[in-house]
């Protein structure tokens, strides 16, 4: 928007100045919030940072009774549950995005796209409730025995099968992040210039070959961005995970066992923190979560910007 210098004097110039300063101040609130978030978390995590140093990230001790705190079980739980969720959600999300952008007619694509978006609208506490009473028991009774039977030689699928587990949490997370990934991917695929597709088709490509030659390569950075964005969502998801993961600070190879994530342990223990150090340790978990979230989002946004802004460039 080209800036036109106000040439008026008196009331007019003053009005403009007040207006500009007010909107500027409100915009600066966003910067202040982001800076404040980081600073406040750091400040309140300081006792724990001082007491444990880098060992905090590598220790598996989490014991409020002896005031010993280590984040590794939660970092592990967050990493595994998020990775597994993406493993389930990404192929499906790519399928949905391709179906919406390449296959379905526009009217149907709009309707289905809207329904997929509704998945993102359902509150996470509702997913948690459904996970506790429906999905968890169903997975335990139907999926777990199958996995144990055919893949039981892997340590991932051994041991007792319970309904609150890493596996249940990952499945619920997958459902929750899928709409975010598919929405961004759909945008990315739609931004691929028409001429690319037409060129592929003119060379005799089938529909799938066109997707593979013209659409997917063009959207790679956008797809990666979408996946990272989904990862950011999965890492930070709290309530649904806290309800179905079992909240046990242990590292176990089996996906059938309960676990805990950074976010879920904060939700469970924050109010009941017994000492200053306990609270500081929980805040430090939050700080780890914030740093991961910020880092992933910065990376993802940069990649998605790159992929969806290309439509404004001249086709090569």
């Amino acid at each position: 928007m080209p800036r036109v210098k106000t040439r008026g004097f008196g009331v007019r110039a003053v009005g403009d100045r007040i207006f500009n300063l007010t909107t500027l101040a409100m915009a600066l609130v966003i910067l202040a919030l982001l800076a404040g978030l980081t600073a406040e978390l750091f400040r309140h995590a300081l006792p724990s940072i001082k007491a444990f140093g880098f060992g905090f990230l590598t220790s598996t001790d989490w014991d409020p009774t002896t005031d010993q705190y280590g984040a590794l079980p939660f970092i592990y739980g967050t990493a595994v549950s998020s990775a597994l969720a993406l493993l389930i959600a990404v192929p499906l999300a790519l399928g949905v995005a391709l179906c919406l952008s390449e296959m379905a007619p526009a009217w149907l694509s709009r309707k289905i796209g809207f329904m997929v978006e509704l998945l993102a609208a359902i509150p996470s506490v509702v997913y948690g409730l459904w996970g506790i009473f429906v999905a968890g028991p169903w997975l335990r009774d139907h999926l777990d025995p199958l996995l144990a039977k055919y893949l039981g030689f892997l340590p991932l699928f051994q041991g007792p099968q319970v309904s609150v587990s890493m596996l249940t949490a990952s499945v619920i997370l997958a459902i929750m992040v899928l709409p975010y990934i598919s929405a961004v991917c759909t945008d990315v695929f739609r931004a691929v210039p028409r001429s690319q597709r037409e060129a592929a088709l003119a060379l005799g490509a089938t529909k799938w070959e066109m997707v593979r030659i013209a659409v997917l390569p063009y959207g790679v950075s956008g797809i990666i961005g979408a996946i990272i964005l989904g990862l950011g969502r999965a890492l930070g998801e709290t309530i649904a995970v806290a309800m179905v993961i079992g909240n046990s600070p242990q590292i176990s190879a089996s996906l059938f066992m309960p676990s805990a994530t950074l976010a879920s342990v904060i939700a469970n223990e924050f109010v009941e923190a017994t000492s200053t150090l306990n609270l500081a340790a929980l805040v430090e978990l939050g700080l780890v979560l914030l740093v991961l979230g910020l880092g992933l989002n910065i990376a993802a946004r940069l990649m998605v910007y790159g992929a969806t802004q290309r439509r404004f460039q001249k086709p090569a």
């Binding site: 928007m1 106000t6 007019r12 009005g15 403009d16 207006f19 500009n20 909107t23 500027l24 101040a25 409100m26 915009a27 600066l28 609130v29 966003i30 910067l31 982001l34 406040e40 978390l41 999300a93 790519l94 390449e102 296959m103 289905i112 997929v116 509704l118 998945l119 993102a120 609208a121 359902i122 509150p123 996470s124 506490v125 509702v126 997913y127 948690g128 409730l129 506790i132 009473f133 459902i175 089938t206 799938w208 070959e209 997707v211 950011g232 930070g236 998801e237 709290t238 309530i239 309800m243 904060i266 939700a267 924050f270 805040v283 914030l290 979230g293 910020l294 992933l296 993802a300 946004r301």
Partner: protein, 289 residues
Amino acid sequence: MTLTKSAHSRRQLFRKLKSDVMVGLTVLATALALVPLFLVLGYLVSKGATSVNWSFFTRMPAPVGQSGGGMANAIVGTFELVGLACALGVPIGVAAGIYLAENRGGALAQAIRFSADVMMGVPSIVVGIFCYATVVRPFGGFSTLAGAIALAVIMVPLVTRTAEEMILLVPHELREAALALGVPRWRTSLLIVARTAASGIATGVILAIARVAGETAPLLFTAFGNRFWSTSLLQPISSLTMQVYTYAISPFADWQRQAWAGALVLTAIVLALEIGVRWLTRGDAQVAR
């Protein structure tokens, strides 16, 4: 010659078949993705509907062991928290959105736009910790105010980005026409451009409301929850989400039943907002996620 020709057509057939299979797979993926939506909604209705009755909306939570009771205070609490969050967050978000749209290319605007996008990805529980540190501790306790501020922090970047996008959709000629008539810039921005974008901005605000109405994590240690009426902004308050959470993880069948009812009401509110808004603005409004 005939041999190569048949090999050629076999190859064609294989390519065609492969393409059809892949197209089929994308359709299957879409169908699979929608299964949970219908399952969740189906279970909500079948398990929750029987417990949604008049007393659910008008009665207070019953003590453990007594059956009956409702979520009157939690329902009011949700409206109170979200209303207050709007009062705090919407003016900031809209003003910031206007700033971003008016200063499209500026370096500062770009930094703020990027910060807003990044802030949308900050885990909501972290916002809860932030408000615990900055509001709950200094004010000496869990409070409605702290919960509302936490929700407002989540709303601001959402509203900002939508407001910006909507204002940018307003044709530039409209602004030029107003300026040419001698209308001051600030009146043009506020009364011509922003007003033209008002329905789009409202859409964004309502979607942000739908989003925060379903938040639980940032409220756990700000608003905290309350089994009674909250009579002051400095007292803890309950919300539908927190009540559903508490009841869902409780061992009492009666509470679990009520959790389903609460979840049904909550989902109905959120989906009504989402669907209503999209239905009203069937155009191609692009809304920040």
